[in-house]
Every structure is written in C-alpha cells, then in structure tokens.
Amino acid sequence: MSEKIFEKLSTAVLEGDSGTSVETTQKGLDEGLSAGDILHSGLIVGMNEVGVRFKRGDMFVPEVLMSAEAMSEGMKLLRPLLAKSGVKMAGKIVMGTVKGDLHDIGKNLVSMMCEGAGFEIVNIGFDAAPEKFIEAIKEHQPNIVGMSAMLTTTMRAMGHTIKAIEEAGLRDTVDVMVGGAPVDQEFADRIGADGYGANAPASADLAKELVGIA
C-alpha cells in the first residue's frame, strides 16, 4: 500500500501535478505513514528524477518549476511534522536581490528550485541593502545566504554585502552563494562567495552541496 502512495507521489512531482501531490501527501499521513518516509521515499524520489531528466535535456525549466512547486506544496503539509520529529531538513536559505537591483525573477526561480530540493526559503525581496541581509541572518539563522544581481552595474553590491556580513561577525555562520546573468565563478571567487550557481537548477544542487546533502 505504502509503495503505491510513494510511487503516486514521485509521479505527481515528476509531472508537476500540485493537486495530486498535496492530496497524496495527506492520504499518506492519514494512513499513518511518517512524514520522513513520505518526503524521502516519495517527493524527493520524484524531484531527483526531475534533476536527472533536466540534466539529460529531457525536461525544460518551465516543467522543472512545475515539479518544484508540486514538491513544495506537499512539503507544506510535512514541514511542521518533520520539525517536531527532528528529521534532518535540507536547511534554511535567506535569499535576496542585492541593493540597487530590481530584478526579482531569477532569484525567485532559484528560490522555487531550492524549495523543491527541500530547503526552507526566507525571501527578502529585491533592492535589499546589506543591513537587510544581516537582519535576516540574525532573525532566521539560515545555513545559506543566496544573493542575486542581474546587472553589471549592480553585481558589485554582492561584494559589499559579503563584506558587511563579515563586519557584522556573521560570515562564519553562513555559506554564501551568488548568481545572476553577469556573474561567473571567477567573480564569485573574487568577492569571497562560497559558491556560484549558473542557473536555477544548478543553484539548488549547489545549495545541497553546501549543506552536505548532495
């Protein structure tokens, strides 16, 4: 019986079917399956397959986002139970577009993908000043801080933000990952980030690597 539910869940995620994902997650809970099993044997199995197919070129970003959404909708039911039972979660990410930059979309795609990978996202929006990042770190104690910049004119603000986090004495508490159209590995290294994600799915992989669950 549980096998059937797990399969239905992974298929719902693979097909980006949020309705079935939520329904089946609830059904599993009703039938007494543990939140941890539903997550690891159902939702994550589906999402892992999505990752494989995306890398192979058999799935494209719009489908991947639908899958990520199906996964995180199911997760909403599981999250409070998982927290109670002490099952290891992927972690928490504070995510924002840096000061001076109004580009919201890329960062939101990365957030969706990371949610799909099991992370909890604290989205601090766009045009976020270093102080806003620092406040969010203090309040939410994330494992990772994700920064995005879309323009060559605003990417340097990522460096300023990292510096400010250092000065606030919080740099050792978080890993910093950066991304955005003009950003590359060399730039990420130069400003002292811990990782660079070339696109949304790659950023979710990076986040998993950073917390050691890849």
Binding site: V61, H103, T153, R156, D184, A200
Partner: protein
C-alpha cells in the same frame, strides 16, 4: 521620362502585413492604456499626470492619444554627426538605412595578444574604438565591455573618453546615472563647440535601459530626463526574455517591449518635443535548459525584424541587434550565427544595429568577431543594395559593341562599373589553391586576426582638439575627486 514606372532600389523585405502591424501597434497601446507600467521616478510621474496620464501610486497608465502625440513628435529622419566633420562618418537615420556597431558592458574581453578571455580593462576601450574607426562597415561605436580597473562609478566615463579619442564615428554612450551622464556630455559638447552647436550636430547618442516586465526604473529615467533636457538623441531599450520576463510568443514580446520603450518615448517627448528617439528592445528567447538570453537563436533576428517593422510603422527608428553569438570562441558557430543575424538585420533596414562583436551570450566582447562581421555586413549590404535597372545598366550598347565571342574586360562599360557593382572582399578568400598554399594556407580566422593586428599597429584615428583634451583632463580630475568624497 518614364510614366507609371516603379523601381525597387533594394531587396524588398516585409514580413508582417499592414493588418498585422496595426494589430501590434494597437496591442502596445492597449498595454500602456490598460495594464500600465511602474514608473519609479517622481518627476516623470508628475509630468505624465499633468499631461493626462492616469497615475495610481507608482503605476502609470497612458491614454492612447498621449502615446500617439509622442509618436507624432518624434522624428523618423535625422543625422548623428562625426565629431571631426568627416561626412563619411555621419549617420543619416531614415527609411531603408541600416547601420551597424558593437554593443556595451560585457564583463569580459578576448585579449588581442593572447586570445584568452579575461576581465575587460581600460585599454580595451581604445582597442575597440580604433578597430571601429577603421572598419568600413561599422558605423557607430560602443566599447564591447565595462572597464574593471578604474573606480567603478567612473567606468562608463573613462570608456567614453577613450572611445571618443580613438574614433570619429558617432558613439552610443551608456552611463550609470546623472553624474557620469553629465561628465560625458561635457566632453562631447566641448568637441562640438558648445551646447548650441551640439544640438545642431549631435556627436553621440545616449543609451538607457528600463526593466522588463513593465518597469521604468529610476536610473533609466534619471538618464532619460537628463538626455531629453540636453537634447541628446536617445535610445530607450528594454531587454526582455521571451518566456521569462516577457510573453514567449514573438507577437507578445514585441508589444510588451514596444510599450516599455514608448513609456520612455512619451516622457522624453513631453520634456523635449522632437527629440530624436530610437525605439528599443533586445528581443530573444530564454534558453529553457541553460536559462541564458540567447544571442544566437534564430528567434532573435526574427523577433527583431518584427520589432523593426512595428517601429517603422509607428514612425520611429529602431535600435536593432545582430552580429552576436552564444559561442564561447571564435569558431564556425560564431561566424554563422553572427552573419545570419546581420544579414537579416540589414534586410529590415533597422536603423542602428548593435551588439556586433558580442560572444558568449553578451558575456564577452571580441574585436575578432566584430572584424569578421564587418565582412558579413559588407556582403549583406551588397545584396540589400539590390539591382539597378536603367538604360545604362541594361548595357544594350555594350552588348552591341562586344558582340558574339568578344569580351567585356576592356569595354568602357566594364571599366565604369566594376568597382561599384562588385563587392570586394577583405577577408573572404578567392585565390587559386596554389596561391592560397603559397600564402601560408591561411584560414578566415587567421586572416581576421591578422587584420585586427594590422589595424591596431597602423591605424591612427583623428585626434580630439587640444581644447577638448583640456576639458577631459578637468572632467576626469573632478570625477576622481567626486568618487573619493563619495566613498
């Protein structure tokens, strides 16, 4: 005299019908009137509201008549002038005239000595401008990158100064905000001989970029207001990604981009009626695997052609795009993507076609790609120039003279036309195998590199006047001071 005789002086290219264009035009007006844009600039909102716009917080909707007024005020034909008065370097904007030039702000550059990709540095602006100055089919100058080794806020200013020194062709200048826009303008005006002289003979064009979807940003509008007040010809160009920040369909991305650009147009024409204005929009697809904005996709020239036709239908010149590639290196993909898009762009007569020389999806500028594209543009221009048909070109007299089994090589008709009827290649090889072998079996790529090196070794651009150099010295000193105070 011939009656009821119609000529086509070039290749006819028209993709969309009048009906379709009217539909796109109405679509853009509909977006402005019913959806509206976020206008993040108080002064701009005030000006718009005073003139009939519906303003609700930052959201601004424009009644169609306001946009139509703005379209009617903007000129279709005007000239951007060479700074040294060389008429061959002037750019005459008008129907059927396509012009080409590089693009701005790539973080990287292909080093001209090592051929390696590395961060763009100050010397690269001079390099790009010198190459632009000497290539016959490149008409305006941008620098192919953002300078990484000067104070950050001054990188656009240093870039402009170094371009201005190294080419007399008109420059398209980008900037961060008010301060550097003003500094750039001081330099340009000094060379033009004062503000009034500049307004009569503008020697550069100002570039602003709003945000898709549907946001006129503060920076873009600060720059727009500045340019409009100083009567600097203006480009207002969003960079939407089909399927990401714009509808995935060509028609959808075209009307959204037109609406984004026409918001700028409307503000600019209210401040400075008759300001030369280029409708903009780099339209291409977001690659759904790698999530990049593709500069080599066939949809780019296709969407840009539709956008150009809409601009011309609305009576505006267009900021076109072509000669660019997603390829990381100077290879077959780079040449074929670039050549096809410049050819298509030339067919549309899109008025200023930029991004020639972009590689790696706009991440890396390359003067090698630029120089290779000069050849592709020459080739394309020969085709778009078309076939001239008149008594003399029909050559009946020459055919009489030469008759059966004669030859035309020495005929006066041949002597009169062979230089103008033929396009002479600079880089394409037509030698015999033996000669080619004797010359060292050089590939197109080898010859392009040799040409760039030759230009950089020998080309001496016409210098700026001493007076302008003095102004530059002062402007840069003031700017360095300003940056120090700022930090």
């Amino acid at each position: 005299m011939r009656a009821n005789y119609r000529t086509n002086s070039g290749v006819r290219f028209q993709m969309l019908s009048e009906d379709q264009l009217e539909e796109l035009h109405s679509g853009a007006l509909h977006v402005l009137e019913n959806v509206g844009l976020e206008v993040k600039h108080e002064k701009a909102r005030e000006i718009l509201e005073e003139n009939g716009a519906w303003v609700d917080g930052e959201m601004v909707r424009l009644p169609s008549h306001m946009v139509k007024d703005a379209l009617a005020k903007a000129p279709r034909s005007f000239t951007i002038y060479a700074r040294d008065g060389n008429p061959e370097h002037d750019i005459h904007i008008g129907p059927g005239r396509a012009h080409f030039g590089p693009g701005p702000t790539c973080p990287n550059f292909i080093d001209v000595e090592t051929f390696e990709r590395r961060p763009y540095v100050r010397a690269d602006s001079s390099t790009a401008a010198k190459v632009v100055d000497s290539l016959p089919n490149i008409d305006f100058c941008e620098s192919l990158g953002s300078i990484s080794d000067v104070p950050y806020d001054l990188s656009a200013l240093y870039e402009f100064v170094d371009m201005f020194r190294n080419t007399t062709k008109p420059i398209v200048a980008w900037s961060f905000d008010y301060y550097d826009s003003n500094a750039i303008h001081k330099v340009a005006v000094a060379e033009a001989g004062g503000q009034e002289a500049f307004e009569l003979r503008p020697n550069y064009v100002h570039y602003c970029e709003p945000l898709s979807p549907l946001i006129s940003t503060t920076d873009a509008l600060n720059k727009l207001v500045f340019a409009a007040e100083k009567r600097i010809p203006l480009i207002f160009t969003p960079c939407p990604l089909a399927g990401g920040t714009a509808p995935i369909t060509a028609a959808g991305i075209i009307i959204q981009s037109a609406a984004e650009s026409w918001m700028g147009l409307t503000i600019a024409q209210l401040i400075q009626p008759g300001l030369p204005f280029f409708m903009g929009g780099v339209l291409s697809v977001m690659d759904m695997s790698d999530m990049i904005l593709s500069y080599g996709a066939p949809e780019l020239p296709l969407m840009m052609a539709g956008h150009t036709e809409l601009a011309h239908y609305a009576g505006l010149p267009l900021w076109q795009t072509g000669g660019c590639t997603d390829s990381k290196t100077f290879d077959e993909q780079a040449i074929s993507e670039g050549s096809l898009s410049v050819y298509f762009s030339a067919l549309t007569g899109g008025d200023l076609c930029h991004d020639v020389g972009y590689t790696e999806s706009a991440m890396t500028g390359s003067v090698f790609q630029l120089t290779a594209m000069d050849e592709a543009i020459g080739y394309s221009r020969r085709i778009t120039r078309g076939i001239e048909v008149n008594e003399d070109t029909l050559a009946v007299d020459a055919i009489h003279r030469v008759g059966p089994n004669g030859h035309y090589l020495k005929d006066e008709h041949t002597l009169r036309y062979y230089k103008s009827e033929y396009w002479l290649p600079n880089l394409c090889d037509r030698q015999s195998y033996e000669t080619w072998e004797l010359m060292g079996k050089k590939s197109f790529k080898d010859r392009t590199i040799a040409r760039v090196q030759d230009i950089l070794a020998t080309h001496a651009p016409v210098p700026l006047s001493d007076k302008t150099e003095e102004v530059i010295e002062q402007v840069l000193a003031d700017a360095e001071e300003w940056v120090k105070e700022k930090e």
